[in-house]
Assembly symmetry: C2
């Protein structure tokens, strides 16, 4: 009967279940954040957080800085709310600050959206210097940063780099993360750390969106984390082995056809095709060879920038299938490379951002 069952089956607070907020605050303090549990808001997946921040900070026509390439779900959400998007290209240290400064000075955007760690789709991690420089610019031009960080728990090698939120001394960063990447996405539990100034506005929006995140899901996440300290270690071992298998297979089979980065964590290996291989031809050949990948297209505002790239996602496949998949991809690459180049003039070759 309503409101007489145990707590997980009743309505919960819009901010989230207190025990889970405390647990997350504890974990974030270990990662260098100086925050109180009251700043942690539980979300129905971190996707919801992108929407909430856009809804709280943007009016139609307002500008948003996004990385080029970036997560297509964020592009969809900002667009759906009428924002104007300002792409800033990445180099191997992350967002290019020279380009960003021009955008901040001349376009006066209202928000900077970044996935600084093991970025989707490039796998790039923003360097410490770049994070500090980004914050300096945000402070100077008074633009808040949305730090979307679903992957930083999944580091397979290298040193932890401080979160942008942890470097911020002026409450300019809204931080977003999720359990979906190493616990169960089907639970739909993410969270946000909001500066005190905007937290209550964000809670109001959260209430309008779905009253509260499922308390049942929240209690399941809480118990899984509280009891399963070694679960993340196990996931890291599995995913690291898959990343290594993928990189080694690429090295053995795909050299000369494309280049790729070596991500220190996360889900993605981002590949850049060599001149002369057409994406359309490659997709046809891949279908024939029985292998699937995601083309770079949806990650760019102007889809044609993506025609030179593919994103490979390694955590989903056991190592044996990775070897076989990359052999098939290599076959498709060889076939596509041997096709004659189409004669049509190509638009958009200029201005393609230098990725990886």
């Amino acid at each position: 009967v309503l409101d007489q069952g145990p707590d997980p089956l009743r309505y919960g607070p819009a901010e989230g279940v207190p025990v889970l907020r405390e647990l997350i605050a504890q974990r974030l303090r270990l990662a260098g954040m100086d925050i109180a549990p009251s700043q942690v808001l539980i979300l129905t997946g971190s996707e919801q957080g992108i929407y909430m921040v856009a809804q709280a900070l943007l009016r139609p026509g307002d500008g948003v800085v996004v990385e080029a390439p970036t997560y297509p779900g964020a592009l969809r959400t900002f667009r759906s709310l009428g924002a104007q998007l300002h792409p800033v290209p990445l180099d191997k240290e992350g967002m290019r600050l020279d380009v960003l400064e021009g955008v901040l000075a001349y376009q006066r955007p209202k928000l900077i959206y970044t996935v600084p760690t093991f970025q989707n789709p490039t796998g790039i991690t923003m360097s410490l210097d770049r994070r500090r420089g980004l914050l300096e610019l945000a402070w100077r031009y008074r633009v808040p940063i949305l730090e979307d960080d679903p992957y930083s728990d999944l580091r397979y090698e290298g040193q932890h780099i401080p979160l942008i939120q942890a470097l911020d001394r002026r409450n300019y960063v809204i931080y977003l993360s999720t359990f979906s990447k190493w616990l169960f996405p089907g639970l739909r539990v993410g969270w946000m750390v909001a500066p005190r100034g905007v937290a209550s506005r964000l809670v109001g929006i959260k209430r309008s969106l779905d009253l509260c995140t499922s308390p049942l899901s929240q209690f399941i996440v809480f118990e899984l984390i509280r009891r399963g300290v070694d679960h993340l270690d196990r996931i890291l071992r599995i995913y690291r082995a898959r990343r290594d298998a993928l990189l080694s297979a690429l090295d053995r089979h795909c050299r000369g056809f494309m280049e790729w980065g070596r991500p220190q964590g996360g889900f993605f290996v981002w590949c850049t095709l060599r001149e002369g291989i057409q994406m359309e031809a490659l997709q046809e050949e891949a279908l024939r060879a029985g292998v699937a990948f995601i083309s770079g297209k949806p990650f760019f505002l102007e889809g044609f920038d993506g025609e030179r790239h593919l994103r490979l996602n390694f955590p989903r496949l056991p190592e044996g299938r990775i070897e076989e998949g990359i052999q098939r991809l290599a076959l498709a690459l060889r076939q596509a490379a041997s096709r004659p180049e189409p004669k049509v003039e190509k638009a958009g070759e200029l201005g393609t951002p230098p990725v990886v």
Copy 2:
């Protein structure tokens, strides 16, 4: 490991899990709706549906017809998106169509929001004639209707009245309901039936809001409903007994101090104070007597209209506590009635809508 667990723990389709959509479509066909499973969208609670519809159909400044009084969560959502609200008073058959027609003709609103069955807060059910008349007006002025229907499964007496959606022959109605009122609100599962024309736009918004409703919650709801056919019957017996206990206690203890309706279903008994009892005094006395109620204030756009009303919510309390609570309320009413009337001039006495 991601995407290798059973389906309930993985990401699901934005539209919802197919088995649950089919089950809901089956139930709705029994209630007279001529719909396909593809029109059913699963929501993270029906609150999300109000937001999605507002986001899909309204631009800032657009008008929305709301009942006066109505559900405060809907007022909050429409307001937060910049809508202009047009309250239409209720009589005992529901929304007053004479007032509605004036609003439609002169204000040109973009949406009519109604809770036609066992309304929150009044408990009023819109009559069949009124439903038909409402549809005629919506068709004539080309304004879609959002039929918010969380309570119609909870009928304790009287005949089922067709849903507005089931009477509509022109795809003007978006229908919203939830499992939160007789299963577990903590699962956060509601649903929407959308006309084919807007369904894909709504799915796009849903994806931006939270990608998908927790598949785990959806499978739990599916299994509970599939296995537990008599659960609703049991809930109906319990809630009916509580409603009867409340009405009988009101009759024995509160006559002369206020009037109230007899809801045929749902959660609420709506009371109207007699002249001379001040809400502020009553709230002070209720606190002293140790009994809580919700004043009518939050249910009206202009809060002062609510000062004459209180909403009692019976499903939450066992019968014994209802009797005791109403005795305490009667004591508070007696005390408040014996206080001298304050001398300040009161604003807003004119134009108070005739409720119940």
